[in-house]
């Protein structure tokens, strides 16, 4: 039972951290793109 808790912690921790990091990047990306001229944010 204890084992299951550690395994769950590993999965939640890993994907949680990736999701948090992704959310942080995307939010900062939105904020930064407001400061930048239009010609500088045309992505491929």
């Amino acid at each position: 039972m204890n084992e299951a808790a550690y395994i769950a912690a590993a999965w939640i921790g890993t994907f949680g951290a990736v999701a948090a990091y992704a959310a942080w990047i995307i939010r900062r990306g939105r904020q930064a793109s407001e400061l930048v001229d239009e010609q500088d944010r045309r992505w491929m």
Binding site: N2, E3, A4, Y6, I7, A9, A10, W11, G13, T14, F15, A17, V18, Y21, A22, I25, I26, R28, G29, R30, A32, S33, E34, L35, V36, D37, E38, Q39, D40, R41, R42, W43, M44
Partner: protein
């Protein structure tokens, strides 16, 4: 991933263009993101439910479905950093500098997750969070090495100096990966303990093997998706700073002309 840097001559904006996005997303990232999301869901289903417990590892193999992919993706990230660093010293273009930095940051995140997973695995297997298991030890040393790289990038200096210095560090650090591996392996050679990879059945089959590869694929896609977003964020940050600087200079000029 490159930026469409085509600044139209004479500044005339082509009429038929759609408005530029107000985020770091594009069609490519949306597709990659969807694939990553679906893949993650599949990995959860396969890793936590469908696959049977391992004959030797028992349920702990479920941690390896993430542990192995995170560490692999991190190494891919650091190799990209090193290649981009060499390319920067050669070509001296912003693209390579920002690519190296973005890749390293994600690599550090993945290394942190690898250590975290490894410790939980150890808690189950050894009964303690930490043993001086070679792979875990190597990962931690390299994690600290790349924290240094990221710290260097935060030092306020000129873009060119930052690029040169961090490129040199990116190259020196990647060369240290095999040396540290070898040294730590020998160092722990006398102490045989249950290692994370050493106990994986080399003839893994069926759903287990499939899940292992699925994990690897999912994390590589996740990495690619994060890298594109992180790169674009870095690009936007540079532009924003430039414009801030331009504005400040213009202001100073205006002040100067008044007095």
């Amino acid at each position: 991933m490159t930026i469409d840097g085509s600044v139209s001559p004479s500044g005339a904006v082509a009429p038929a263009r759609s408005p530029a996005p107000t985020s770091t997303s594009s069609r490519a990232t949306r597709i990659l993101g969807t694939v990553a999301l679906v893949g993650t869901a599949a990995l959860v289903v396969f890793g936590l439910w469908i696959t049977p417990p391992d004959a030797q590892l028992g349920e702990t193999i479920r941690i390896l479905y993430m542990h192995v992919p995170t560490v692999s993706a991190a190494y891919v990230a650091f190799i990209i950093t090193a290649v981009a660093s060499v390319a920067y010293l050669w070509k001296r273009t912003e693209f390579w500098d920002l690519l190296a930095a973005s890749s390293a940051e994600i690599g550090v995140l993945f290394f942190a997750l690898t250590i975290f997973n490894g410790m939980l695995w150890g808690r189950i297997t050894w009964g303690v969070f930490w043993r001086w298991e070679p792979r875990l030890t190597t990962t931690t040393v390299l994690f600290l090495t790349y924290l240094g790289y990221l710290a260097v990038r935060r030092v306020p200096t000129s873009t060119r100096t930052r690029g040169t210095v961090s490129a040199v560090i990116g190259i020196l650090a990647v060369v240290n990966i095999p040396i540290t591996h070898k040294a730590v392996d020998w160092w722990r050679g006398l102490h045989q303990e249950k290692t994370i990879f050493g106990t994986v059945d080399p003839e893994m089959q069926g759903t287990q093997l499939f899940t292992a590869y699925l994990g690897l694929t999912v994390f590589l896609v996740l990495f690619a998706w994060l890298l594109i977003h992180r790169f674009r964020l870095a690009w936007l940050t540079e532009r924003a700073e430039e414009q801030g600087l331009d504005a400040a200079i213009a202001e100073r000029r205006a002040e100067g002309s008044l007095s």
